[in-house]
């Protein structure tokens, strides 16, 4: 009976999700790397997989790639339980990049594309397109060991995307790239998304998450501690904090006059015109209008804006809370 309900639940699959991980458990001996992990990656999204080192991100990615098998739970790709045939629908760029050093670039790319199920002529055509696009003409017969690190990264990127998979998984995609090439790759990734690919993105670089991701999941100590749309997560972490700037005659007096319940913090005096910058936190029963009138009574209000928590803040706060 219970099982039937469970089965029914798993049939109620949301067609909008490219990937769903349900109740994934992975153990290595006595160590539990993933403990009942659930994520849902919507189609066409850039999904940020965040977490401190050793949280279990790589374990999850390896399970999605069928490199290892989970001890429990299931993965659905476009609604179907993951099977070996899905290999051609997934592209994976591991954090630790690697290619055969003594093999020629072109030969190597064709080999890896054919392992993904492309025919030789298909692989050749795709490669010519990408080599052209990323300015890599003339690299075909070079051995990988002759290339610079950034150049090798480009080859790695092509190897990941050339079979046009539905789901692309990037583990720290920008490490090793100079800013110009990092931007180039970022634009390529976003373009692939616009063409219909779904992207999972594992990184420590919070600014790139902020810039690119529309959904995130935070994994800490083998559990998903936070997940959802980036906007909604941020919404959840809003706690009525505002940045305020006031021009006053007497700063000390003004500070004392601010009601205690605002919990003014991070007070700074800036500029020649006696501007006082600080942070306040509005209690539940105080409206914005109310606080504005409170503040204008103390001096000339030049700045009042909500502090939206950054992904970085959310990350640190959640991980700390989780202990």
């Amino acid at each position: 009976m219970v099982r039937d309900i469970f089965k029914l639940a798993s049939f109620r699959y949301n067609m909008k999700n490219t990937l769903e991980a349900r109740h994934i458990v992975k153990r290595y001996g006595d160590f539990t790397a993933l403990n009942d992990v659930n994520i849902a990656v919507p189609k066409g999204s850039v999904y940020g997989l965040l977490g401190p080192n050793g949280a279990g991100k790589t374990s999850l990615i390896r399970i999605i790639n069928q490199i290892t098998m989970p001890d429990g739970g299931e993965i659905l790709l476009n609604g179907e339980p993951l099977e070996p045939k899905h290999i051609s629908q997934i592209g994976y760029m591991p954090e630790e990049r690697g290619l055969y050093k003594s093999m020629k670039v072109g030969e190597q790319c064709i080999y890896l594309a054919m392992l993904k199920g492309l025919s030789k002529s298909e692989a050749k055509a795709k490669l010519e397109y990408w080599f052209d696009r990323l300015g890599m003409q003339g690299w075909w017969n070079k051995k990988l060991q002759e290339l610079s690190k950034g150049m090798a990264q480009k080859v790695q990127f092509i190897v990941t995307v050339m079979h046009e998979p539905d789901l692309l998984i990037f583990d720290e995609p920008f490490s090793g790239f100079d800013p110009v090439n990092a931007n180039l790759i970022k634009d390529e990734i976003l373009q692939l998304r616009d063409q219909g690919a779904t992207i999972i993105f594992s990184t420590h670089r919070m600014e790139s998450v902020e810039e690119m991701c529309d959904h995130i999941a935070l994994i800490n100590k083998s559990n998903v501690v936070l997940s959802g749309k980036l906007n909604e997560v941020k919404q959840q972490f809003r706690n009525r904090e505002y940045a305020v700037s006031l021009i006053t005659k007497d700063n000390a007096q003004t500070l004392q006059a601010i009601p205690d319940f605002y919990k003014a913090e991070d007070i700074e005096l800036s500029g020649l015109d006696n501007t006082l910058d600080f942070k306040i936190r509005l209690p539940e029963d105080i409206t914005i209008a109310q606080s504005l009138s409170d503040l204008t009574s103390l001096g000339e209000l030049t700045h009042f804006s909500e502090i939206i928590p950054s992904v970085n803040d959310i990350f640190i706060k959640t991980v700390k809370q989780d202990g």
């Binding site: 290595y28 001996g29 390896r62 790639n65 069928q66 490199i67 290892t68 070996p84 290999i87 997934i90 994976y92 591991p94 630790e96 990049r97 690697g98 290619l99 055969y100 050093k101 003594s102 093999m103 080999y111 890896l112 054919m114 392992l115 993904k116 190897v159």
Partner: protein, 430 residues
Amino acid sequence: MDKLWLIIKREYLNKVRNKTFIIMTFVSPMIFVGVALLVGFLTSLNNDTTRKIAILDDTSIYAPLFEDSERTDYIIIENNNLQAAIDASKAADYYGLIHISRQNNQLDEVTLYSDDSPSLGFINEIEDKISKKATEDQLVARGINLETIKDSKITTDLKLQSYTGVQTSKANGWIKMAFGGGAGYLLMMFIIIYGNMVMRSVIEEKTNRIIEIIISSVKPIYLMIGKITGTSLAGITQFVIWVILGGILFTVASTFLGPEAVQSPGNDMAMSQLENMDKMQLIINDIMQLPLLKLVICFFIYFIGGYFLYAAIYTAIGAAVDNETDTQQFMLPVILPLILSIYVGFFSVMDNPHGTVAVIFSYIPLTSPIVMLMRIPFGDIAYWEIGLSMLLLYVSIFGVAWFAAKIYRVGILMYGKKTNWKELYKWLKY
């Protein structure tokens, strides 16, 4: 299946195109033939120098026996003083001085003065010459006609024949040893060289980190099988090239230097037993009598089985470590059975191919390829024995490969951990 084929092809081409492979393949036979030629040349050089030996014969009877030969010149010294003779031959830089002393008009002692250590053959030659003459003189002195003795002499020549009436030559043992031992030794070399090659290639993929990309496309077991198969094909290619090249070079060398120059010492001993062409015929007969077809077929079956068994172990070791230096602790258990089989082959099997030790080791999968191969030329090994040994070998390949694949699967994704036996055991349970 397509992917497995792709992997095999890549591994094969990668090995065959490798510079070291090309150099090894083409240079090794040249080195081998070069060394053989050098040894032949040096030996002939050695035989070219003629030794000069002085003879001081107090009896004057024996000196004429020493006739100059190709390699030795004898100089008879007419001088009664031993010390003077020693000094003279030393001054003339002779190889040595033979002094035959006399007492009561009879042979007393024969002494060879020399700074070198003369060979046993040379000593025997001198002893034989003098003893024969002395004995004959004694016989004549006692009134016996030498012709009578010569006429009544009968020599026997032991003929070897099996119960079924097949004649064999006295060199038969050597021929069997050469065929059995050669096959066994070849197999061991192949296992060690190509096993190491597989292991290095696993370590390379692991340290390159390309492994994650590959096994997100194919199952680790396919990569493992593909790697082992591709490498074995490269090995077979190398051996085929060696056999062809070696054959050509050897033929060329033999034509130029004559057969003596490139003969191995083993052959020399066998050859020395030959006195006429009849025996040569017997040797060829011997070789034809060997179960050659059986040997060749068995060689390939054991070759493939033995190689796959050990290659699986090598793969697991490669997956378990981060770099080649860490492999040391795991190498001994791999090398040990190989060396053991060679020893068992050369001692127990040669001694008694049906002895308990030989039989047991020809069933144990880790040693059976080499030991059974060495047993085959020596005795009539029943087909059921060979069949059983092969069955055990191939069944154990699946067993070992299963364990190896488990270790491989876990090992290739483990980094920075020093692996020990306990850790490996834990991986089996993952």
